[in-house]
Symmetry: none
């Protein structure tokens, strides 16, 4: 791994790469984005990419980490507030989901791309596992809190399922932004979740 660069100009280059790559990966996907595209769009040279990152994968993984962290932070923040205020389930659901969607939207296909490589690349598998666990724990915290009202007997499985559902819906909405009524889907999804509340 490259050391974290300290100098200012270097940091700027690094940021340019990350920002540009995020956009391209999120829009086109990993394989459809070439390193030359990133360099060109970022206004730097291909060589520069390799002084900051070991390879294309590393860029992807770092972006993904940042993204996952942002989502998790958002969730934790919300969850804490909800639990503190001891909100009602339905209010909580109505609160959390639209916000989660907004954050996920920022990185479009990232999650989906990662999953493609889990079986192929060990680094991808490692990153995925780490975050999946954290996400599931967070959902678990939520589910455990509202367990009874949600009539859930196996919270672990429920957390996994919920996570999958959220991801698939967000990915779908991202891909079909122009043809689909986002709000209708989101609110129907919320309604479906609320339906299962006792």
């Amino acid at each position: 791994m490259k050391k974290t660069p300290i100098q200012k100009r270097s940091m700027e280059t690094r940021n340019k790469i990350v920002i540009t790559a995020r956009e391209l990966f999120a829009e086109k996907g990993f394989e459809e984005t070439t390193t030359n595209m990133i360099a060109k769009a970022a206004g730097i040279s291909v060589g520069s990419i390799y002084s900051h990152f070991k390879d294309k994968w590393e860029i992807f993984l770092i972006i993904l980490e940042e993204h996952k962290e942002a989502i998790l932070d958002y969730g934790t923040m919300n969850l804490n507030r909800i639990l503190e205020q001891n909100q009602d389930v339905k209010t909580a659901i109505n609160w959390i989901i639209p916000g989660l969607y907004e954050i996920n939207k920022l990185n479009g296909k990232l999650n989906h791309e990662l999953e493609r490589f889990i079986q192929v690349d060990a680094r991808a598998a490692a990153v995925h596992e780490k975050w999946e666990k954290l996400e599931d724990q967070q959902l678990l915290r939520f589910l455990n809190h509202y367990g009874e009202q949600l009539n859930i007997s196996d919270p672990e499985s429920a957390a996994t399922i919920l996570n999958l559902q959220l991801r698939s819906i967000f990915y779908y909405l991202f891909n079909n932004q122009e043809d689909v009524d986002e709000k209708a889907i989101i609110s129907q999804f919320i309604r479906m979740m609320c339906n299962s509340v006792k």
Copy 2:
């Protein structure tokens, strides 16, 4: 386009290609599977692939069509039986989902792969649209039948959501067959669906 081959040996080769390609595509994905790999694994020559199929895409699309058709047929069959017997929602759900999973399992990542190419390839988009519509119609038939009990105000959105949920869970289970308790997930999912029944 190649004619459907009539002779026996030819048909055998064609089948070998389809079967091998299905396995490889389902396991590794489309781009990670090379035509040389298919040929080698099928015990035939690269050239042979191209006397049966126009290109790599055609193989993929044919496999996908067969798969989608099988799933749809299974669903239609079940749905007809359910509607005829005027079964209770929960019984119906408990009946359909495990079966759908078994069929989807056969082709692992196929669906997921297709979706990657929707924006890139016109043929992929066409196939996807065609089947998506049929699947949604089928789910709609189900939802409309049990509409009241399921407390659904926007059946179109609900069908879309349901379809996404099923796909994402099945894909997840396929990818994690060895590390995850399939049955637990499936039954928790069924329970979650049943929960929303009035």
Copy 3:
């Protein structure tokens, strides 16, 4: 080399191949014509081609030989008549050239194609040399007869040049049949030749 087949059906197949291949080679050229195209167009199987001919080249060469022979025969016939009747140069020129064009037209690009392969393939070189010599001899006979009136000091070179001129004009006319006034070109060429008569 394959023996000349004696049986009737075999002969028919052979002819079908030759006729079809001639059309395709003359129209598309050698490399642009595949053996599968020939077989399909001739209504026979690819394998059949190889029981009558050693390879694709052999077909080409045989067609070319037949064509060259036809042209030479036509020339000899005309030349004999001209010399017997002791015709006037200009009459002779006006007589021979349009006829030669008609025959050459039949085989469009054949000559041109052959020349491409002279340096690459020894068989092509051999065929070419053989016929080139015969053609030059024929032209020489003509030039020698009218030598004085044509004011030619080096008949060998003149024969070569004349041969090249004829071929290039015929090839050009074949390729531009639709855009060009054949008759205008042919008659201008005749006029140019007659101009040089004393």
Copy 4:
């Protein structure tokens, strides 16, 4: 399209490619020259070819353009001098033709190759048409100037014919450099042209 490279090393590589490709194309023809051959002979990598040129065709077309331009420039220069000095036809012919041959020799089969692809490739057709027109115009200028002495009634056709004759003779001489007396052919051709002068 690739930008015209500015850096020195890049320019050198580009030149290496052009020079090597010119030799190979002129000697073997377009299809018989593979991109790997060019790379190997130029002492560079295949990839390099594609950072300088869009595809194999582009190299060919660029070489051809350069060649055609050189020939046309040479012709224009000569023609201007001839017309200014109001030279006599025969002197003019004796002056122009040997020079034209020398230039054409440099690129051997290039012209001939181009013509093969006119019907197949739109880019080839475009290049060909462009230069053919310019060449014909140049010949027309010549023919119109000496029209009366040359006894030409249809200058357009004559220009076309002359162009074809020149090309075919030059191509022939290039291909048979070792077996044929170039000078004899060239001077016989000049004599034939002069013969038709009134």
